[in-house]
Amino acid sequence: MDEELKRAAMLLVPEYYRAVMGLCMPVEDIRLRLGRPVSCCVAGREYFLRQLPVLSEKNLLWTLERATCSSIYAVQDSLRKGYINASSGIRIGVCGTGVIKDGELATIKDISSLSIRVARQCRGIAGALLPYNAEGKVENTLVISPPGYGKTSLLRDMIRQLSDRGARVAVADERGEIAAMNRGVPGFDIGLRTDVLEGVEKQEAVMMLIQTMAPQIVALDEISAPRDVRAVELAANNGAAILATVHGRDLEDLCKRPVLREILKSGIFQKALIIGINEKGRYYQQRSICGEGSCVA
């Protein structure tokens, strides 16, 4: 699966750079910046291909055309949010100049940078971290880490394992990163009992999933905005267990952000899984959250 994803990501890189980049294993991120050397991130470090010419506009547009299947209109909504979903779980971050129309971001023009992010299926990483409580019920869990530490991979594996163990899981996959649906077929193994609603805003998606799919667990990726918090509240009020991820270093860090502080204080989440990286590699820390006044226990 990972090899397939890498191959799919490589097909988005101009042929000129592909051969050299193919040697880098395992590529996590490929950065194409106009007028600068192409780079790739391996194990958290960025390596520049300085021996090759800098990226030309023609090459950047070629990648863009490939990523959008020559159909900008097909990705226009996600482009407004700064990313494109190419097939097979590859998300491409886009930077350029915003075009404002009626006070809102209409599109991005003069695209200057692309970040091709290669998702990974890390089977089994959630094995010891499944959020069951003493009664065997799934606790509402928040996965916390800085970007690139593997929040989504952990969430995906939790979904897969819980689903395969009998829980009906519904995924509100706004950015298409968790399941990487391709014509209705998930690009990752997300379990037998998992239903995915992709490309819909979290609040709306949670509402739809609860009304139509009767989930026992609702999973959401990257909650940050007030409307995402409302989606979490909605799921919690309807009796579904929640698995969610959020950017941050730790619980104390989240408490500094008003939107997230509120949700921590509300007592919806019972458990936090914090991902960190030290010299030995990635580590996971489990903490319980109690609401009502103090936000962290």
Binding site: W62, E65, T68, C69, S70, S71, I72, Y73, A74, Q76, T107
Partner: protein, 163 residues
């Protein structure tokens, strides 16, 4: 004498054949433009409702039977070189020169813009093709019988002259 008679029959037949071929070619060109309009309307509907990417739409059209299928097959074949190049290369499969130019120009804009603009461009192309089709119809109605008669008459004249 019998040989001369046979030759003159052949000349007249050739004249009639030339006229009929011309009319057939014109009819085919009109039918192809009509089918191209239908194909563009199909693309338009799919973009408006489902935002389906162009390669999928083109592949679907290439699978259809009809006079436009070879055009879209050609687009599919050259898609690796980019949509613009592919459309422009495939446009040579369109028999009518003006319709070919309309399709060629469409290659420059297809897939480059947001949905609203794409739909506007497709509407403009369909409207141009419809105008062209009406003109071709008129031309066919006026010229085809005349060409048929003229070529037949030319065959007869040539036969008489050679006899």
């Amino acid at each position: 004498m019998l040989l001369k008679l046979f030759g003159s029959v052949l000349l007249v037949a050739a004249g009639i054949f030339a006229g009929t071929s011309y009319a057939g070619w014109k009819r085919r060109a009109i039918a192809q433009v009509a089918q191209l309009c239908t194909a563009l309307r199909f693309i338009r509907a799919r973009i408006a409702m489902l935002r389906t990417p162009l390669p999928d739409l083109i592949a679907a059209l290439a699978r259809e039977k009809g006079l436009c299928a070879p055009v879209f097959e050609e687009v599919c074949k050259h898609l690796e070189q980019g949509l613009e190049t592919a459309v422009q290369q495939a446009s040579v499969r369109i028999e009518d020169l003006q319709a070919r130019q309309i399709f060629y120009r469409l290659g420059v804009v297809l897939g480059r813009y947001e949905a609203d603009e794409e739909l506007r461009q497709l509407d403009a192309a369909v409207s141009e093709l419809e105008t062209r089709m009406a003109w071709l119809h008129e031309e066919y109605r006026g010229k085809a019988p005349l060409v048929r008669r003229l070529t037949a008459a030319a065959g007869i004249c040539l036969a008489i002259l050679l006899i």
